[in-house]
Symmetry: C2
Subunit: 360 residues, 2 copies
């Protein structure tokens, strides 16, 4: 087991990474002993892991109940949250209870937001069961639900007490979801660590083959990189925005084709290719580095082109993106591999052309 | 104009108290200049004050839009919040925009919660227009909406940038609401300041007659007392819970008769009489002090008895109250006038008897 620390003063927390961790009572005991606990999960994940997690909690001295939500992005709504809150109130869970989020990004975002707002906030532990959730949504405290007018438009920053990333969960993860998770791993290399990009170029086969050591190393490095950024800028006032590399285009892709059609990681993958293309046109990235971006994404079996929509439709969808500051659109561009920057005042023509150049 | 400071490290903020303040551009300028602003209000309040506030904001260099919600407690729901968020997204308000909450407690709680969760949190300014909101809900950063299973069950701690309490707004406040606000003023005396209780006993006539100086002094002292408690315990881990004196019974009254039948302040008034009665039975308060509690409440024209419900129904309604810790019920009792304490492990018979003794 490796343990990283996300350094956030009085909200610092550990990320434990290893095999078979979710059934370890010792990892829960400090936070859960003597408490009532709501384990929030979905039926698919619960069929594999709810039993072991509840047993571990019980052995850690907690009194767990479970609340299941629907599987998939469409469950990330007000209505689901309202049902979760209702179920917890029906169980008379008080302000001293604890939430355990057991599942992928949807469960993590929704359960984390439930923890942020239940009786004005209770603590929670993340037990991410997908690669995407292990490397991305479980680090940094972002929680949210979607609004009819946009993804993640209602949410909170709420840090977990601990993250338990069990690599053994990835054995049963569908290939498509594994690749979607790799998209975020790659992203951390592109924006923060050129050496890690090289390592990924050399080890993509092992990752796709689910080599456990390779996965543990990739998750660990990825979390470490993200944790450094989050520690420096918890509320996304500046540097943290760089983690959204590929996301402005990616959110437009997800919204444009309808949420759930493309996986988040797939949309971000094509979005990163667009953002690299835009970086070349804006003069901050060499064309051969943009080619390496596309090649690494392609080698992971991820889409290197976005869906065919009118470029104007992309722009329209990006306007409501929450990174739009005071009406001006800003983009995260690469300045060489391993370095990113947030830039406003770009030529709208460059944006349109980059989209058009990277569509199916 | 008097200005108090609520000392909360990097979230400290001023409370301005005086006549005609809501139309003063200078009080908004520092926070609103150059920003887009959503003024959230209801039709009744808006008919009096939306114009002046929007003008002041425009003169302060902001670009305001307004979002109106229904009047009354029944508007404090998910659905209303969802509409507010939708309206703000339709106006393409970004993460750098600002909310101004213009109205009573419902507007303040809902608009404050909207600010807490809109795109994971934006700042807000409180412009409370009722006495209750001026002395209570605008100090301390508590925001929330109601759930079908209980009041304020979903919310956040989110401190405003500033509170602008305009005493001139109270001129048009219905008598019943004025009295409901006085209930919270009195409460601050009972739990924190025996001298203030004496001052209130001597000045109740002036307050009910809307003497502006008396009101300003009462609001100011009340906010000061509450601000001291909040500064010492922002997240209600301990001392802050004392501010809920009368509220455990009060929430049960509100829920028992249906939200909206009794004003919050009325329910708290009767709840304080019950809590004082319980304090006598638990041996922490002298009977003559409990009589002073009831007398002061009565002199404000507030109810000194709760509605007639089975005591068991009261208990049932109180069980889901969010102050119930780990299943054990705790009560805020008086230890003499001006001193309160949080106590668990009370004799259930004493609780029942206190309720029965203070019912209509």
């Amino acid at each position: 087991m490796r343990t990283l620390d996300v350094a956030l003063a009085d909200r610092s927390y550990p990320i434990h990474i290893g095999s078979g961790l979710l059934g370890e009572p010792g990892l829960y005991a400090r936070h859960a002993a003597g408490r009532r606990v709501a384990v929030i999960s979905n039926p698919v994940v619960a069929s594999h892991y709810l039993g072991p997690v509840q047993q571990a909690l019980a052995r850690a001295g907690a009194r767990p109940v479970s609340v299941l939500i629907e599987d998939g992005e469409q469950a990330k709504t007000w209505e689901t949250l309202d049902r979760v809150v209702g179920a917890m109130l029906a169980e008379q869970l008080g302000r001293d209870s604890l939430i355990v989020a057991l599942g992928g990004g949807v469960v993590g975002d929704l359960a984390g937001f439930a923890a942020a707002v239940y009786q004005r906030g209770i603590p929670f532990i993340q037990v991410p069961t997908t690669l995407l959730a292990q490397v991305d949504s479980s680090v940094g405290g972002k929680t949210a639900v979607n609004h009819a007018r946009g993804k993640n438009m209602v949410g909170a920053f709420h840090q977990p007490l601990a993250v338990i990333a069990d690599v053994a969960c990835l054995d049963t993860l569908p290939d498509r979801e594994l690749r979607a998770g790799i998209a975020e791993v790659i992203k951390h290399g592109f924006i923060l660590d050129a050496d890690f990009v090289e390592w990924l170029e050399a080890n993509m086969e092992r990752l796709l083959g689910r080599d456990r050591d390779a996965l543990e190393r990739a998750i660990s490095r990825s979390c470490e990189l993200k944790a450094q950024v989050v520690a420096a800028d918890e509320r996304e006032a500046g540097r943290r925005a760089l983690l959204n590399f590929g996301h402005t285009f990616g959110h437009a892709i997800e919204a444009g084709v309808g949420y759930g059609e493309w996986l988040h990681g797939e949309a971000v993958a094509a979005g990163m290719v667009m953002a690299a293309e835009l970086s070349v046109r804006a003069g901050t990235l060499r064309a051969e580095d943009a080619a390496r971006v596309a090649a690494l994404i392609g080698s992971a079996g991820l889409p290197v082109r976005g869906p065919r929509l009118a470029p104007e439709r992309y722009l329209e969808l990006m306007q409501v993106d929450k990174k739009a500051a005071g009406g001006e659109m800003r983009f995260i561009l690469l300045e060489g591999l391993g370095h990113a920057t947030l830039k406003g005042g770009l030529d709208a023509r460059h944006v349109r052309d980059s989209i058009a150049a990277c569509m199916q």
